[in-house]
Subunit: 328 residues, 2 copies
Amino acid sequence: MTDFYDLAAIGNAIVDVIAPADDAFLAAEGLTKGSMMLIDEAQATALYGRMAPGMETSGGSAGNTVAGVASFGGRAAYLGKVAGDQLGEVFAHDMHAIGAAYATPPLAEGPATARCLINVTPDGQRTMCTFLGASTELSPADVEAPVIEGAKIVYLEGYLFDPPEARRAFEKAAALARGAGRMIAITLSDSFVVERHRAELLAFIERDVDIVFANEAEITALFETDFHAAIEAIRTRTRIAAVTRSEQGSVVVAGPETHTVAAFPVEKVVDTTGAGDQYAAGFLFGLAQGRPLDVCGRLGSLAAAEVISHYGPRPLVSLKDLAAAQGL
Amino acid sequence: MTDFYDLAAIGNAIVDVIAPADDAFLAAEGLTKGSMMLIDEAQATALYGRMAPGMETSGGSAGNTVAGVASFGGRAAYLGKVAGDQLGEVFAHDMHAIGAAYATPPLAEGPATARCLINVTPDGQRTMCTFLGASTELSPADVEAPVIEGAKIVYLEGYLFDPPEARRAFEKAAALARGAGRMIAITLSDSFVVERHRAELLAFIERDVDIVFANEAEITALFETDFHAAIEAIRTRTRIAAVTRSEQGSVVVAGPETHTVAAFPVEKVVDTTGAGDQYAAGFLFGLAQGRPLDVCGRLGSLAAAEVISHYGPRPLVSLKDLAAAQGL
């Protein structure tokens, strides 16, 4: 099988709307800091109407990871559904401009391109409310076998477990990857996603998944236990697990191996949006290049540090140059 | 006449698309660094297709100035035309979210919301290509007398001299302001605008304008002479002129008075988009509060320094707080 891509990723195609907010705003809106909540279009319109002036930028967890891998110089492909509207055009443009392969046809009729309303507090924490719009209409027909089968690693977003049609697309992608002997990676995405789909996620991981990405809240939610017990539990369920812990860096386990990876220092945390997505980008790029796991973790830390130092979920500088400057 | 607003501004309502670029890209596209060029929709689509991944944010020269005045705590109103599309909704949201009065009805049928494609080079310089779209459809009917007559200062964008319908809206606004005894301010906007409309601009300034904003290229284009001769020429044509000179600060003249105002130091110039617009915001806010002209100039310098320290043409922090911290 020819390796056309280092990574093929499938996820909710979302445009982010990022605006500053304070803790009082989060409280008044009933939002839990750092969380992701699904909202409908009416709620999105109402919340947007109360938010501060913002900036719009392409987002979506797996889309951000694809942008990161491309920024490292990797070859990446993306599958995700936008609508045929201006924000959908922005999303597609940004995918192509970063050099990623992206050819999912936009939704002809139906809801608008998905939006994630992100309120960023002065401590850099992001609180997300997502209107999934057209992204939930990603269907198995959109999952192109040559893209999945031509990638060294197929990366799946846990968020896709929520919408039934996208879930079927997810399952098709996983089956194609398994059939082609490709490595399968998943991000747990969100602790509420884990709680909603714990048993199915765990079964899927044990059967199909080679690489699991999670943060502390997600991994402890998956096993309903404390951090250290969760780390030992995931160690036996998958080949490689990388668990991020914000400023405490990450822990990478693989069979008997354990690597503790420090976070890269950041002068000021401006906006944590995309931190986990960029960690995954660095890690997966390293893995696709056959680098040792501790180096993969450091590439992840480096990419995460870049993205939290500015507004927006994707790198603003070349991660390839940044890695070279760090001797990675 | 009640002062409902410190400032009412009329301009091209534009959404900015900001992306990094290098000098080679500008050369390949035939773009002159630091310039603003008008392009049609086909050119916009083609150029956008070649640009790097970007971010979208509300812009438009006078719109940026309104956002700056509101950020200082001033009461501001805006008149400008968007289409009834997603980018138009973003523009209107951002106006309302900053606390500005904005009620121009969106264009029901016709071109899309105006876009300014901004390529930012590593030196922080911005090179702009504007597709005017719906903004040129601003008509005299959109110029509401109570808004113009209720503002201490009416601020007009030189860019509006280009499209015939917007030009008529500009003239109606000027006539209403004059009739109500309001101060009229204009920005020359662009040296090519000045060259295209030199005689009419000069006649308009001499007859109607109290406050002229220009940069060095614009003021020398207006009088077809060198900087010092141009300063002396504008001194006799209007009541107050504020001429910006990038890192050399600004020169403010008013009859016999001359104030040389230093630029505020900036750690790193990231993106000069909006520098002149924010200078005007600080200056006009100060003027509306009855502050001395040198203080108005310093408020302008402060606002310009904030906006060039990050991507995007509008302030990301409260200019009111920033001014207080500087003892202004």
